[in-house]
């Protein structure tokens, strides 16, 4: 075996070559670390520009009158009273429909469902529904709620539409929250002779409630900003009256008068103002958008905070 002996100069030369390669590779590393940060900044800057732009344009317009006035043909007199009241009422219907249904479905899939083709179909279905564009839900609601069931363009139709839309979000987060509960809780309950329902009611649902709440909030934050499906069912854009206050009419039928009332919601009001040619209405749109943005940011922020604290607090 022949040995190549190197003199000192050759060793130094090769070392220098190797160091050069290393330095080049490390430069790439640094470059990419910066590139990543810059990419993230693109997102952050867009978010900042978006909020700042709307704040600058819209904030001067926001005062008490803006919240207590109906929309008007004169931009300076127009307000969002019917819009925010409508949003709250629609959200009420959405929550009442989506939360029980979503939690029940999530509990079934985690605690009851046998491993068979039927469960598989349900699971694939839910994944699929999460990917259906929101406007398709609008078409479904138009055909089903508005015309087949005869609910018309009412708060009920809109609330149910949005409930269907956020159902997958609620189901998925319920399942994730339940899955985080360790198996030993179930074993202990069954060991004491509890039935599945007793286990679910007394342990599974209470322990996962914070996680479920996070999912519900994220779902509601999404529903509050949804515009397309509500436009599709034919919501009116100019509403200058309020529906009767919930649960105040003559019982029993009068209690639910409000659900059949025509309505408008925040994003629709904003869309309506955005699509007008007069510049004054764009200011109104910015103001309404800023408030809508604030609502969703607060809801999303609450969900993030809740999840963060949950993770820190629970030690099984």
């Amino acid at each position: 075996m022949s040995q190549v002996t190197l003199n000192a100069a050759q060793i130094a030369e090769r070392l220098a070559a190797i160091r050069k390669i290393i330095a080049k590779a490390k430069r790439f590393d640094t470059f990419f670390a910066i590139l990543g940060l810059v990419s993230l900044m693109v997102g952050v800057l867009t978010l900042t520009a978006l909020i700042a732009d709307m704040a600058i344009r819209g904030l001067p317009r926001i005062d008490l009158d803006f919240f207590t006035s109906f929309p008007s043909r004169r931009a300076a007199n127009a307000g969002i009273l019917s819009a925010w009241v409508g949003t709250i009422l629609v959200m009420l219907v959405t929550a009442l429909a989506a939360v029980p249904l979503g939690v029940a479905a999530g509990v079934y899939l985690e605690e009851y469902a046998p491993k068979n083709w039927m469960t598989d179909i349900i699971e694939i279905n839910i994944t699929n529904l999460a990917g259906v564009p929101s406007i398709v839900y609008g078409l479904l609601a138009l055909g089903l709620f508005v015309y087949h069931f005869g609910f018309g363009q009412s708060i009920l139709s809109a609330g149910l539409t949005l409930a269907l839309l956020i159902l997958p979000v609620v189901i998925v987060s319920t399942r994730e929250a339940i899955r985080a509960i360790p198996q030993m809780v179930r074993e202990a309950a069954y060991g004491c002779g509890a039935t599945t329902w007793q286990l679910t009611r007394d342990h599974i649902v209470p322990y996962s409630s914070a996680g479920i709440l996070t999912g519900v909030i994220i779902g509601m934050a999404r529903a509050i900003g949804e515009t397309a499906p509500i436009i599709t069912i034919g919501a009116l854009t100019f509403i200058a009256f309020l529906p009767t206050a919930p649960f105040t009419g003559d019982p029993p039928a009068g209690l639910f008068d409000w659900v059949m009332a025509p309505f408008t919601v925040m994003p629709i009001q904003m869309f309506n103002w955005t699509s007008r040619p007069e510049a004054d209405f764009l200011v109104n749109a910015a103001a309404a958008g800023f408030i809508l943005m604030l609502m969703t940011l607060i809801m999303n922020g609450l969900a993030i905070w809740l999840r963060y604290h949950l993770r820190k607090k629970i030690k099984w």
Partner: protein
């Protein structure tokens, strides 16, 4: 009486308790099965309402006509026109979302420390949670005038600014799914790569990304389906004139913005003009469903690898 019987009598199935359990299980099952009903209802409504439409308009015209003028006397129903708007805006959005989304995903999964990730992920989540109507307003009022400074000929409504903003909207979506895929790559592969003297960047590009290919591909595909189904940004910022073009600097209508346009108008239910929105919706659903299925299948595959 034998000593054992009393105990076994207590352990006997209690019909009341058992019956209640079964009833509750049935109720919970029907809640879960409701999702199947929703899917069935979507398909049924779209098919039955489109059926009315396709009895007047032959499928061949729907697919191959190059004009979309359902509201004129000389009505043409060529879905291709709306499809071109959808494809153009989706392409612009992906040109923004795929590079940025992928870089952010690599950065979050391979470069960022725990603390940075804890801050960056919620910010991305907030970005994804902004209502699309607000993005639409932003595209129309902020991005378009900005682009017009560089490019004075750009019309006030155009697919470009709508597509760009839509791209930013999809970044968090692509980033989070790709990051999940990359983090699912086992640590041992990275350790092997580092042991061979590779840098983080080399490891990320040559080891982690190839191992997570199917997951990343599924993120892109789900991004496409998300972009194709996006409505309000396009309805606000891209104008609503049907326009057979693949040039993003022109205004155009997409399948989704056309549906909004008709819903805002005062066409009577049952007229052929009105029924077009269900046919358009059916085309959209077919498209997004295909992409979703493909994405779902790819994601399932990468999960099973390790």
């Amino acid at each position: 009486m034998a000593p054992g019987t009393q105990v076994s009598a207590r352990l006997k199935k209690n019909p009341l308790r058992h019956g209640k359990e079964r009833i509750i299980e049935g109720i919970l099952f029907s809640a879960a099965a409701f999702s199947v009903f929703v899917t069935a209802a979507i398909v049924y409504i779209l098919l039955s309402e489109s059926w009315v439409f396709f009895q007047t308009v032959p499928l061949r015209d729907f697919l191959f006509d190059t004009q979309w003028t359902p509201l004129f006397d000389d009505a043409h129903y060529g879905i291709m026109v709306l499809l071109s708007g959808t494809i153009t805006s989706t392409a612009v959005a992906l040109l923004v979302a795929i590079p940025f989304g992928t870089i952010i995903a690599i950065w979050l999964s391979e470069f960022a420390g725990f603390k940075t990730r804890e801050i960056a992920k919620p910010v991305l989540e907030l970005l994804g949670g902004v209502p699309t109507i607000i993005y639409g307003y932003f595209a129309l009022i902020f991005v378009t005038p900005l682009l017009q400074k560089i490019w004075p000929d750009l019309p006030g409504f155009n697919l470009l600014s709508a597509g760009l903003v839509m791209g930013v909207m999809i970044i968090p979506y692509i980033a989070s799914i790709s990051e999940d895929a990359m983090r699912a790559v086992p640590m041992s592969l990275r350790e092997g790569s580092y042991a061979m003297g590779a840098t983080r960047f080399q490891t990320a590009i040559r080891v982690v990304m190839p191992a997570a290919t199917s997951g990343i591909a599924s993120a892109y595909i789900l991004g496409i389906s998300r972009a194709a189904g996006e409505t309000m940004i396009l309805a606000v910022a891209a104008g609503m004139q049907p326009n057979l073009t693949f040039d993003p600097s022109e205004p155009g209508a997409t399948i989704t913005s056309y549906i909004v346009q008709v819903a805002l108008g005062d066409l009577p239910h049952g007229s052929i003009g009105y029924q077009t929105i269900f046919a358009a919706g059916l085309a959209l659903l077919t498209m997004t469903l295909t992409f979703n299925m493909l994405g779902y299948w790819l994601r399932k595959r990468f999960r099973e690898v390790y």
